[in-house]
């Protein structure tokens, strides 16, 4: 059982919707939309086999702006609705668009369970660390100390790190990308589409109005090379303007080192293995953040494990192969029955 491909070559134009895009000028969502419109034709599925599902929030308007089947649902429930769509029709490519409030606060329960089940959907998590559509209240990913409309004295909540939540929920795929670096965003989304199972990409997305520059400490042109580690499977974890910084494992912790200093050579640097079951290094990579570490981007984890769809369909097939009850008349007449004359 697999998703049917398009018989004709598709282009971006096949997925552009006729709706006016109503996000604010300069919003990071525009670039994510542009990336997806580029990715879908490359994936090659029949255009009717894509299904976009969202909850509530700025990012959740996404389905209106892509010409596929789409469901703009209610706050926090995109994961649950997508689950029903995928179980009902496993031959659809199901995509979720959700923000940090929608996914991590009101929808937190559905989010972790979708991941735990390894449900075969692609989850784009737009993380702008703020409630934008309600005009600027702190979210579960807002940094501590941040002044917002509902935290006039600074946020005291500890934030979620989406990567920790995904990997801690037995996630099989987690990647991180940035709205203003579309080339890498496209790559990550393609990789995500190929992965069987629950695939989550966290996109650091900028809300120009209510949380401008919240990711600047890693996304600013000035600092990005020193603060972004782009992971590639099978390659050493090297970063920095001069490609001379790397990550090593010392004891049970990661550490940033400089190649050429203190006897460190390139072969001392950790080589990224996105496919390992062991979550230890993946979790530590997801946790890295400035100032002591760069932030990890690209595919952090892509572990293969039977998906919900595979396990579900296997049970369905086995039950149907071995069944003695094959239609309702069989069921109605099964067990103890008797005739009344």
């Amino acid at each position: 059982m697999s998703i049917e491909h398009s018989k004709v070559e598709l282009t971006r134009a096949d997925f552009v919707s006729d709706q006016m895009v109503k996000w604010c000028p300069g919003c990071g969502d525009h670039s994510i939309l542009a990336s997806i419109l580029g990715v879908f034709p490359k994936i090659g599925y029949k255009k009717e086999n894509f299904c976009m599902v969202s909850g509530i929030g700025c990012s959740s308007r996404f389905p209106y702006y892509v010409n596929t089947y789409g469901f703009h649902s209610i706050h926090g429930r995109a994961a649950a609705i997508a689950t029903g769509i995928k179980i009902a029709n496993p031959n659809l490519s199901v995509w979720i668009n959700s923000g940090d409030g929608d996914a991590m606060a009101i929808g937190g329960n559905h989010f972790i369970h979708l991941i735990r089940r390894n449900m075969d959907v692609n989850y784009i998590l737009f993380n702008n660390q703020i409630y934008g559509l309600t005009k600027g209240q702190y979210s579960p990913t807002t940094k501590q100390g941040k002044i917002t409309k509902t935290s006039p004295f600074g946020v005291i909540d500890y934030p979620f790190n989406p990567g920790e939540l995904v990997i801690g929920s037995r996630g099989t795929f987690f990647a991180r990308a940035i709205d203003n670096q579309p080339k890498t965003l496209v790559e990550v989304c393609e990789h995500m589409a190929e992965h069987d199972g629950a695939s989550v990409v966290e996109v650091l997305q900028n809300c120009v109005i209510f949380n401008n520059n919240t990711h600047a400490e890693v996304t600013d042109k000035e600092v990005r090379e020193d603060r972004q580690l782009w992971l590639k499977h099978g390659e050493p974890m090297i970063f920095g303007k001069n490609k001379d910084k790397g990550i090593i494992l010392r004891g049970t912790s990661l550490e940033v080192v400089t190649i050429g200093e203190n006897g460190i050579t390139e072969k001392d640097i950790l080589v990224h293995d996105e496919t390992t079951e062991n979550t230890g290094i993946h979790m530590m990579l997801a946790q890295m953040r400035p100032p002591h570490f760069p932030m990890a981007f690209g595919v952090i984890r892509a572990y293969k494990q039977p998906t919900y769809k595979q396990l579900f369909e296997k049970q369905m097939e086995e039950a149907q192969t071995n069944a003695t009850i094959r239609c309702m008349d069989d069921l109605l007449n099964s067990g103890e029955t008797w005739e009344v004359e």
Partner: protein, 612 residues
């Protein structure tokens, strides 16, 4: 061979009560199944505590199972002709349900001073004359059970586990029932444990022989055969009937059945039952919570399934917002609410009809839903089928109300042939239809077309935001919202054009019309039939279609001098009727005690109203 005389009876009620874990549910089920196979009409009602194993020998831990057998049976019965009480606590809590002059069977071995005190008795109730009005059979059940299996089990615990079978054997003798069904059940159930089969068979026979060979019983009782339509029958609980009705509807609609549910008493058995039927294509998803249960079903509805979710009151509360989404997106969805005592956690294992307002009105915005109610354990099948038919053909959510009494209770079920059930016609859009629009409607029914992801040439977006008439784009236009709100309301109201008229039982000119809805039908019908036989001017009408109501409802209600609306809540249906039909004076009979109506209390109230 017995030589005892035989008394004939039209119907009898037997109630088995004991500690949770004493096996009363099984004992009752074996007796009811045996009686059904033997040709009686039956109805059963399990009455069990919320705790799985409450403290031993306490009132809180008493579990019961009531069986009503006879010629024509509509309820599980009021008072027990035979009460089997396996310990002092169960006697204490159930004596009020024993018929004066009836038989009470007790296990005398359990009446220890400790157990007597734990039950709250000051002295042994078997001594003295507190049970003077009853025919009490004092049987040392524990001792005789242990004795019967002494060659099989030496440890006390294993031996005593079969006590319920001794009581069952006694009941089988009293009603002259055979042991074949029980033997077959034991052989199948304990296939891997021959010692248990042997022990239980021996104990059933010991109980049977005890009544046969001693003088504890003066006569056997023969209960009349069922006087029912001929056909093929089985015994079925309301929850299983509901599950099967949904499966049948999926087959007749040519759709996959999807159930997204979360376990909740007393609705869980619907989820449990459908989980078994993967071979019939049932796609069942046990969700992380009630909200995910309904939202997954809404997703499955969008994807073209016959989508359902099952729950009880607190779960329906959690699903409210999502029901609104299904109303807005005009997707077919069946929501089964097996009502229980509320509010909040309330009385999880007890029955009530107090979710009616929640079903009718419990959503934000103007959000009309179809609401129907089953009225017997067996017709849960028909109403689940009908709920699915209405939801699919009218592209809107339908709430099916059953209750703990119907769901857990069982009844004879005349097995339908699938070929005789009506076909269900989903209003599917045609692939590549150039005129397709998500909210274009059939102007007679106001139903929109169903275009399912994967279908060619029909890509569209739906959602919770208001959409423009026809095209379905997001719209905040003022006039459009009025139009769409009117459509959603009228779409549900126009269903009244396609459902049968309400009927009444009895004379159109009767002085008093008794009105009921949902799970109380059996008791109301019995009460009215008895009063009609007594010559009272009384008629009865019972509602299954709640929203919309049948078109002739008002005409029926206005015809009678007096109208009384009876329901297991504080007056929800009666107020719904008042809202719809001004100027009718309604009497009420309401009860919220976690119990079904009993016929005697209904008759008393009806006589009182007739006398006013």
């Amino acid at each position: 061979m017995t030589t005892k005389p035989v008394i004939k009876r039209d119907n009898v009620v037997v109630k088995f009560v004991g500690d949770s874990g004493d096996g009363m549910q099984l004992t009752g089920t074996l007796f009811s199944d045996t009686s059904a196979l033997d040709g009686n009409d039956i109805a059963t009602f399990p009455d069990y505590p919320a705790e799985i194993r409450a403290p031993h020998n306490t009132i809180a831990g008493v579990s019961g199972f009531q069986v009503h057998i006879g010629k024509r049976i509509y309820t599980s019965g009021d008072e027990a002709d035979v009460l089997v009480a396996m310990n002092p606590a169960s006697l204490k809590s159930n004596l009020k349900w024993a018929k004066k002059g009836g038989i009470i069977i007790v296990d005398t071995d359990t009446f220890t001073s400790e157990a007597i005190a734990k039950a709250g008795y000051e002295s042994n109730p078997l001594d003295g004359d507190s049970l003077g009005g009853y025919n009490v059979i004092k049987a040392p059940i524990t001792t005789l059970t242990t004795e019967a299996v002494k060659d099989i089990f030496t440890d006390k615990k294993s031996a005593e586990r079969s006590r319920n079978m001794f009581a069952l054997g006694m009941i089988f003798f009293i009603f002259g029932k055979g042991l074949e069904h029980t033997d077959a059940y034991l052989e199948k159930k304990f296939k891997k444990n021959p010692a248990v089969i042997q022990a239980n068979k021996a104990v059933v026979r010991a109980g049977y022989n005890f009544c046969d060979n001693t003088d504890v019983l003066e006569a056997q009782i023969q209960v009349e055969q069922a006087d029912i339509v001929k056909g093929k029958y089985r015994n079925i609980t309301g929850n299983i009937a509901t599950a099967w009705g949904l499966l049948a509807a999926a087959e007749k609609a040519g759709l996959k059945l999807f159930l997204g549910s979360y376990p909740i008493t007393p609705a869980t058995d619907i989820l449990v039952e459908l989980s078994k039927h993967k071979s019939l294509g049932a796609r069942v998803f046990q969700a992380e919570d009630e909200i995910a249960g309904i939202c997954s079903a809404i997703g499955a509805a969008f994807a073209g399934s016959l989508a359902c979710t099952s729950t009880s009151g607190p779960g329906l509360s959690l699903k409210s917002e999502a029901i609104g989404l299904a109303v807005m997106t005009e997707l077919p969805l069946v929501i089964v609410d097996v009502q229980r005592g509320g509010p909040s956690t309330g009385l999880p294992t007890k029955t009530e009809q107090s979710d009616l307002f929640q079903a009718l009105f419990g959503r934000n915005g103007e959000a009309p839903c179809i609401v129907v109610a089953a009225s017997s354990s067996a017709n849960c099948f028909d109403w689940a089928f009908e709920a699915a038919r209405l939801a699919v053909e009218h592209m809107t959510p339908c709430i099916l109300l059953t209750d703990g009494y119907l769901g857990n209770g069982s009844q004879l079920f005349r097995i339908p042939k699938m070929a005789d059930l009506p076909k269900i016609n989903p209003p599917l859009a045609k692939e590549n239809d150039p005129d397709y629009m998500p909210y274009r409607r059939d102007m007679e029914t106001l139903v929109r077309q169903w275009a399912v992801p994967g279908m060619e040439g029909l890509r569209h977006r739906i959602g919770g935001l208001e959409k423009s008439d026809g095209k379905g784009a997001v719209s905040t236009d003022n006039a459009n919202h009025q139009i769409m709100t009117d459509y959603r309301k009228e779409k549900v109201e126009r269903i009244a054009n396609r459902i049968p008229d309400q009927t009444i039982m009895g004379d159109e000119n009767a002085e008093l019309l008794v009105v009921g809805w949902g799970g109380t039908q059996g008791a109301l019908k019995s009460a009215v039939q008895q009063m009609q036989a007594e010559g009272r001017s009384i008629a009865f009408t019972h509602f299954n279609y709640i929203m919309p109501l049948p078109k002739n409802t008002e005409q029926i209600l206005r015809r009678h001098k007096k109208v009384v609306v009876c329901e297991l809540n504080m007056g929800q249906f009666v107020n719904y009727l008042r809202m719809n039909f001004e100027g009718i004076h309604f009497h009420q009979y309401n009860k919220v005690q976690g119990l079904p109506f009993v016929v005697s209390e209904l008759k008393e109230r009806f006589n009182q109203i007739l006398g006013e």
